[in-house]
Symmetry: C2
Subunit: 418 residues, 2 copies
């Protein structure tokens, strides 16, 4: 743990009843990490003065930096501003710059300004105002000896704008002591424990200032190396060399040397070969297309697809012979092979992937149990098909089927010469 | 705050460097709330024994229930199990039921079992094992006087399965002193503040033992009434009557009187009319199909769709005239109308929905800014189209576009006589 570590306190009842998922903390942690500040703890408390005070007391016993988000809005359940003002012994005064900004914001949106909105321009006289050009609630920077407490609004894009423009540059000047370097290896096809066994010697030899974490997700495992040190360049080289060693040990299962989504890896492979792809989705119902189009610019390689949930669409749109389905079933090797061939033909793409299965909880037949999924990938010359079996609930089986299909296609694309 | 409040502790370095967004806490909070347990605080700490111990010490000073997630995997960065065993003064022993399960799991997946996997069957002898049928790491229930500490694996679907099957029923038996009744009204088309204004009198007259929460999501707002009391039947009647009053006040915007996903409401409306639907998705890339097929049994009304991400597929597969796109652009009223007509024709469905837009961050043109989306819905007689504008990032714009499209279709289906 570095000497200058941070604690993040998020405030709001909505965080304690499961209504809001906290994305601010993850973003703040990434930013702080980037200039060498570790986050030692994250705490979420409700809109409750004593809970907030206790959390702040606790944090200030160890942390050099305390970042608080939420509780700065105009409504009555937002109590952080007067509390902090009081905590550090100040009083609320109107800040003219903030007042002008709030008035302008309401004028621009053509809305009447209410007294509660004008109150947002009141700030403690013992803090530095962090200007919020995206909204009405300003951020506040309290200096407490050599400790810093920053209070920010909870709305993510307001919080981010304030930190990017003012908070982070100021924190960097004060606290940028050592560096933190992350490197991630993305693997697919083997489980966490298999990889751990392969890396036993590697892990035993890791120096104390470099750690390795396993991050499993849907049949893939990300391996993250984290190094800490005084000299950025030397540290980067050291971590990069270790990543390379690890990549060699795991050569068969590495699919990327960075922290990136599977759909982006597949997209990059297609871009690199200047090829296009399409989908023929039955049981996944559009999930593969949904993932593929998460990537900005995916239109360069993803052309589209046929969601042939009903068998007649497999026949009418993809040209799967009716006899193939009648003889083998919709969930079968011949059907998914015909779906891929049909998709390449109809969508006029270089590669296609097809999925047909039973995701559950209903829909099993004598021949096809719940969780059985056939996947095929191919180009105009070659089609490969495989049977998979997933053992989870419908939602998870769907996600697994879609990701397994993308991974299968990635391997196929990488295996082709051109 | 009820007398039996809970604290949630999430464990893992990945939570402190911003690599993982914690969704477990929100789910756990919702579950605990449902039977009357409030969450007082959420804390996230790293894979660090002293931080975990401190967090647990703190939590046990006030909370009746402490739920810990993460840190139970087979690899060396997972340290929670031995720590808890030690904390409560037990020792690790092999649990035969878990051992059998782990062996079966590996056999079924056709993978060799490793010593680290066998270690997962070691559990503290002072805890009750919460069986994990979805994975290898069991949950653990420690009884500490009248306090309960539950440790769960961090993988969301494993954690949920364990809690649903064992943890929550057991907690309910112990801590559900009074009854809690929830009733939800699902509205669409108006914002939170508009609804709040309409419900001012209603809220003012709510008795103290019944609360109302606003749960906004993608242009829809769920209104959840929560009643607490000793007599279940009387409480249920009271909350049901209040829901009815609220439904009358908001008649124009109510789309369901229960807490149910939009895709299930749409599915039910189609089933009721014995009609089918299909999709023609451009910018959403399959997201609507992905949502629609989340519902078990959706094949009764969802036949499939065309993902026409590339313009040539709009022309070749949906029969959109090339001139329509050339003259008006792919993101335009005439294009989405032609897409719906094409989808009804090609997919042979009763209703279709079409979406075309620019989700960002790139792809804007002189005519079409980022966030502009055209949506059309219709049947063979009538097609309606509307322009929408979303102001978020790509992922959120995609979700908003898909949900808005489903809502638009739901209203259309409900408006048709047959």
């Amino acid at each position: 743990m570095s000497s200058a570590h941070a604690i993040i306190i998020t405030i709001g009842d909505e965080l304690l009843i499961g209504q809001t998922i906290d994305t601010n903390s993850a973003w703040l942690a990434q930013q702080l990490n980037s200039f060498g500040v570790d986050v030692a703890k994250r705490v979420a408390v409700g809109d409750d003065a004593s809970a907030i005070t206790t959390a702040l007391d606790d944090a200030l016993t160890t942390a050099k930096i305390v970042i608080m988000t939420g509780g700065l809005g105009p409504t009555s359940d937002d109590i952080t501003k007067p509390l902090l003002c009081n905590y550090f012994g100040g009083k609320l005064v109107t800040n003219e710059a903030v007042l002008t900004h709030v008035k302008e914001l309401f004028a621009r949106r053509n809305r009447p300004i209410l007294p509660v909105n004008l109150k947002q321009a009141e700030v403690p006289d013992n803090c530095t105002v962090l200007f919020n050009k995206m909204g009405t609630a300003p951020g506040m920077w309290f200096q407490h000896g050599d400790q810093v407490v920053i209070a920010l609004p909870g709305v993510p894009f307001e919080m981010k704008a304030i930190m990017e423009q003012e908070g982070i540059p100021a924190l960097k000047r004060l606290f940028s002591g050592h560096h933190i370097v992350h490197r991630t290896l993305f693997t697919a096809g083997e489980g966490e424990s298999f990889i751990a066994q392969k890396l036993t010697d590697f892990e035993a030899q890791l120096p104390a200032h470099i750690g390795l974490a396993y991050l499993p997700d849907s049949g893939m495992v990300r391996l993250r190396l984290t190094g800490r040190g005084k000299h950025q360049k030397a540290l980067e080289d050291e971590v990069a060399a270790l990543q390379e060693t690890m990549a060699k040990t795991l050569a068969d299962i590495v699919i990327a040397k960075e922290d990136i989504a599977l759909e982006a890896i597949l997209g990059r492979a297609l871009l690199h070969k200047q090829k296009t792809m399409g989908v023929a989705e039955s049981c996944t119902g559009g999930t593969i297309g949904h993932y593929m189009t998460m990537v900005p610019g995916s239109s360069a390689y993803f052309k589209g697809g046929i969601v042939s949930y009903a068998n007649e669409l497999k026949i009418n749109l993809l040209g799967v012979p009716a006899a193939t389905i009648a003889d083998n079933g919709a969930v079968s090797e011949p059907t998914v092979i015909a779906m891929v061939q049909g998709a390449i033909n109809v969508l006029q793409v270089d590669y296609a992937v097809a999925v047909s299965g039973v995701l559950g909880p209903d829909g099993a037949t004598d021949r096809v149990p719940v969780g059985l999924v056939w996947i095929a990938v191919g180009d105009k010359d070659t089609v490969k098909a495989r049977e998979f079996r997933f053992h989870y609930d419908r939602e998870r089986n769907k996600e697994m089927a879609a990701k397994t299909a993308m991974l299968f296609l990635l391997k196929f694309v990488n295996s082709r010469r051109s």
